[in-house]
């Protein structure tokens, strides 16, 4: 098996840099943060455009409402903080003041998932996919690498309406070339295969690629799909994968309830019932290094390959 050599980059740095570039092009872009601008990297925008940057202090609910007010006043408002505070603390503000009126607010949350690491369960957001996916009119995007992150931020800045984008604390491997094009609602096949499909989102996309390498050494050709748009889910790609590969494994740094696995199973149940394995988290996290936590929650490439092999042993649906 050939070892992959990936370059690693922080998504937050890409976000901060892209915001600055967008701010230069569009004077209507404003950015809000809740006292985490040095971590979310919105401080880069704040330094360049102090008049258009609002540090709201530690008050996420007010931040979301103020972002909505700025959007109602004609601005494109980016609001950033950690995923847990953005989606948990301010959920009802997002529902009432942003989604219901369909305002142009882009919530870019960093520190999603368990790879937050040492800060532990209080800061590891494993519910944001579900919390955001249930909101009408909210589009939910989780980039898989630095290149896609840049494309996603550029896209949400120009597409109308509310968006939730989850970024992570840890560095991600570069999977895409600069030519990669992102489209809201479209997944991306990173590896073709007819035996089984591995669907990843965010960090787990790279783990799915590595799992497919392991499976290939067993003579199994796995399709790998980057499901970066969680909502609206790319139903066409899900149904096609079900029809063509018969078995699907979903992998996410999120609770098994309410996230990618749920979205895929909703789609499959209604359209094309298929053997499915949902890999995710089932309980609160603990403190530890990101890599160790991914091992602890069995989200590593070896775990995915093993789950795929087990699923392949199961009888096909009638």
């Amino acid at each position: 098996m050939k070892e992959r050599v990936w370059e690693y980059k922080g998504l937050r740095e890409v976000y901060g840099q892209t915001l600055v570039e967008l701010g230069e092009k569009n004077p209507d872009i404003v950015v809000l943060d809740a006292d985490l601008s040095s971590s979310t990297k919105t401080a880069m925008f704040g330094k360049k455009f102090p008049d258009r940057f609002f540090n709201m202090g530690i008050s996420e609910q007010d931040m979301m409402g103020t972002a909505a007010g700025l959007a109602a006043g004609g601005k494109v408002a980016f609001a950033s903080t950690f995923a847990i505070f953005a989606t948990g603390r301010a959920w009802e503000q997002i529902r009432q003041s942003i989604c219901y009126p369909g305002l142009n607010v882009k919530i870019i949350a960093t520190h999603g998932g368990i790879t937050v690491g040492e800060d532990g369960a209080t800061h590891q957001c494993i519910e944001d996919f579900g919390l955001m996916r249930v909101l009408s009119g909210m589009k939910v995007i989780v980039p898989a690498d630095p290149v896609e992150t840049k494309r996603v931020i550029e896209t949400v800045a120009t597409e109308d309406g509310p968006f939730y984008v989850r970024l992570s604390r840890v560095k991600f491997p570069v999977l895409y070339s600069d030519k990669y094009e992102f489209k809201v609602g479209k997944s991306d096949i990173l590896r073709e295969g007819k035996d089984i499909t591995l669907m990843g989102i965010g960090l787990t996309v790279s783990h799915c690629i590595l799992a497919a390498d392991i499976l290939a050494s067993h003579g199994i050709e796995a399709r790998v799909i980057n499901m970066s748009t969680l909502s609206p889910i790319d139903s066409d790609a899900v149904i096609a994968a079900a029809k063509e590969t018969k078995r699907i494994v979903t992998v996410e740094e999120h609770l098994k309830v309410g996230g990618l696995g749920s979205a895929v199973s909703e789609c499959l149940s209604e359209n094309y019932p298929t053997l499915l394995k949902i890999m995710g988290i089932t309980e609160f996290g603990i403190s530890g290094k990101a890599e160790k936590l991914l091992e602890y929650f069995k989200l590593m490439p070896g775990d995915i390959a093993e789950a795929a092999l087990n699923l392949l042993k199961k009888e096909e649906n009638i």
Partner: protein, 280 residues
């Protein structure tokens, strides 16, 4: 200068709005009577005298903006918008009905003249701050006005937002607290006391003044006072009477979220000296 003539005219409009509100609520059989009636003079002062706005062009870029943070007083706002000409008076009777542009709580997507959607208490001041910041970024002179409920300020977000208004020195923002003293479960001071309310706002960096919220002369003077406040936001604590204008509803907590029955409507219309032509 506020003339006697002007005040007489505003009083007439306030009476019409009360009649509209009661008829609307009676027609649909649900909605908030008490808090709609307590806000009438403040809303009339804004829409029929103080605010710069244009019903012919609801999205006119330099308009002043209004946020009804206590969104349950929507009937009072709708009546004002209709009487200004934002939509037909006949639309008022569709309140809360299927397919109506007049939703139970203000919806900016469907109602001409409604600036932001509200209804979940405690969220309006953040929205108003955002509107005021956008107006300042665009170098417009437009002001943002907001009515908060007294029970509403029990919400923590109001105080987050109050800090922000002062922090960002939003002197293009003027809030009015509709202090009618009652909330659904009883008296505000018994449920969760908000006093000393004026001192709270001042401590948060606002200028505050206390007035009689049904006295046009005092209301208009207060808005002029707010205009003169520089470098900080201002709040008018308007002492009001829940259910104002109809004796059976006044200070009666029962009518927070209950509409007038047919008999109560007849009684109310008589008290408001409705003429034959106004009855329909």
């Amino acid at each position: 200068m506020i003339t006697e003539e002007k005040i007489k005219e505003l009083k007439h409009i306030a009476r019409l709005l009360r009649i509209d509100v009661l008829k609307m609520l009676n027609r649909v059989g649900s909605g908030h009577t008490g808090g709609s009636l307590s806000s009438i003079e403040i809303i009339v002062s804004l829409y029929f005298h103080y605010m710069k706005h244009n019903p012919e062009d609801p999205l006119w870029a330099d308009r002043d903006k209004f946020v009804l943070s206590k969104g349950h007083a929507a009937p009072a706002l709708y009546a004002a918008l209709a009487r200004c000409g934002y939509f037909a008076l006949s639309d008022l009777m569709t309140l809360r009905s299927m397919g109506s542009k007049l939703q139970g709580h203000p919806d900016m997507k469907v109602t001409p003249g409604v600036e932001v959607s509200t209804g979940s208490l405690g969220q309006g001041l953040s929205l108003a701050n955002g509107l005021a910041l956008a107006s300042r970024l665009d170098k417009r002179r437009a002001k943002v006005y907001i009515i908060l409920g007294d029970g509403e300020v029990q919400e923590g977000q109001v105080w987050e937002a109050a800090m922000s208004s002062a922090h960002f020195r939003l002197d293009n923002l003027c809030a009015v607290l509709d202090f009618n003293g009652l909330q659904i479960d009883g008296k505000v001071k018994d449920i969760m006391n908000i006093d000393p309310i004026s001192d709270k706002w001042k401590a948060f960096g606002w200028e505050a003044t206390v007035i009689d919220g049904h006295n046009f002369s005092e209301i208009l003077k207060a808005f002029t006072w707010a205009e003169g406040v520089k470098g900080k936001p201002s709040i008018i604590i308007a002492k009001t009477i829940k259910g104002k204008g109809v004796s059976i509803f006044e200070n009666n907590v029962k009518y927070h979220g209950v509409p007038p029955t047919d008999e109560e409507l007849t009684f109310a219309l008589e008290e408001l000296s409705v003429t034959e032509s106004e009855k329909n």
